[in-house]
Amino acid sequence: MKAKVYITPKAGILDPQGLTIERSLPALGFEGVSNVRVGKYIELELPDGEAAGAAVDEMCHKLLANPIIEDFEFELVPG
C-alpha cells in the first residue's frame, strides 16, 4: 500500500517561508489570504498489513518529522 505523509510546522511556530508567500499574494491581487504554512509531502510504499499504520506513525516520529517543531498526518491508500 501507499502512505501519503503531510508534515507541517506546528501551530504557533513561526514559518518564515509561509509568511513570505502570504506577503506576496496581495501583489498578485489575492487579498485576505492568511495562515500560509509551508510543509512537506512524502509518499512511500510499504507492505500491506494491519501493522502499516503503526509503522508509518513510528517512521514519522523517528525520522520523517521532527515532533519538536512539526506536526504530521498521513493516509494509507491502496498502492
Partner: protein, 246 residues
C-alpha cells in the same frame, strides 16, 4: 601518586567526525592541532570504536546533503551510537553548526532548528556573549565576555518550547547568545531569529555543547581573529585537569 618531572604529559586526544558532506572537518582538525600537547585524528562516520579519545568534535558542513532536515540523517550514522555512549560516560562532545544540528536531531541537546527568519543563508561575523563560563568549553572566557565569531548557516533559528526554555535558563544551559558590540542581546544583533538570541546550548550535565557559530575559524590571526581559541583551551584544560585529579 606523585608525578615525577620525567613523566611525559599525556596528550589531549581529539576525534573529528567526518560525515559524507562535512566541510569544516579540516578547519576543526587544524584548529586543535595548533595547540601544544594535542593529538587529533579523523573519525569516519562508519567507525564504531571510539577508544582513546577525550573530546569528539562534530564539525560543520552539509552531512548527507542536509536531506529531509539538517542533521536528521547523520543522527542515524553508525558512529552516533558510539558518540552517545562516549557522552553518557562523561566524554566531551562539541557540535559546531551542522554538528549542533545533529546533536539536536539526536536528542543529545534540547530544542530544534528551523530556517533562518530572513530565509537567507547568513555568512558573517557576529558578536557572542558568554553566558556561562562554568562549562568545560568556556571556562577560559570571562562571564559576560563579548567575542567575535563567524556564522555560516541557513537553518540556525533555534527553537524550544516554553517549558524547555525555562529549564535551559534555570540550569544555565544557554552558553552563548548573539549580541551587539556592547554585549546587548538586541533583535538587530540576532542574525537568524533564534529564540532568546540563543547561539549555543549545553546539556544538563555540561559535557555536550552545540553552537551555530564557528570558533574553529577564529583560532589564528592570519584568518581574522583568535576569539575562538579559548573554546579549545578550555577543553584542553578541562581534560588535563581531570587527568591530574584522577
Amino acid at each position: 601518586m606523585a608525578v615525577s618531572p620525567q613523566t611525559e604529559v599525556t596528550p589531549v586526544r581529539f576525534g573529528v567526525v567526518v560525515f559524507p558532506g562535512s566541510n569544516c572537518d579540516a578547519d576543526s582538525y587544524d584548529a586543535v592541532r595548533s595547540f601544544a600537547g594535542v593529538d587529533a585524528r579523523y573519525l569516519w562516520h562508519k567507525d564504531t570504536e571510539l577508544e582513546g579519545l577525550d573530546c569528539i568534535i562534530l564539525p560543520g558542513g552539509f552531512s548527507y546533503g542536509d536531506y529531509l532536515r539538517c542533521g536528521a540523517i547523520a543522527r542515524f550514522s553508525p558512529i552516533m551510537k558510539g558518540v552517545r555512549r562516549f557522552a553518557d560516560d562523561g566524554g566531551l562532545v562539541i557540535g559546531i553548526c551542522n554538528g549542533f544540528q545533529i546533536l539536536l536531531e539526536a536528542g543529545m541537546l534540547p530544542g530544534a532548528m528551523h530556517q533562518n527568519e530572513g530565509l537567507k543563508f547568513v555568512c558573517k561575523q557576529v558578536n557572542l556573549r558568554v553566558e556561562n563560563n562554568e562549562t568545560p568549553f568556556t571556562a577560559d572566557y570571562e562571564r559576560g565576555q563579548v567575542i567575535g565569531v563567524p556564522i555560516a548557516h541557513h537553518e540556525g533559528n533555534y527553537f524550544i518550547d516554553e517549558t524547555g526554555l525555562a529549564e535551559l535558563e534555570a540550569n544555565g544551559q544557554v552558553v552563548v547568545r548573539y549580541c551587539d558590540e556592547e554585549g546587548e542581546t538586541t533583535p538587530a544583533s540576532n542574525p537568524n531569529g533564534s529564540l532568546g538570541n540563543i547561539a549555543g546550548v549545553c546539556n544538563r550535565e555540561g559535557n555536550v555543547f552545540g553552537l551555530m557559530p564557528h570558533p574553529e575559524r577564529v583560532c589564528d590571526e592570519i584568518v581574522g581573529g583568535t576569539d575562538g581559541r579559548a573554546v579549545f583551551e578550555s577543553i584542553i584544560s578541562a581534560v588535563a585537569g581531570k587527568a591530574a585529579a584522577s
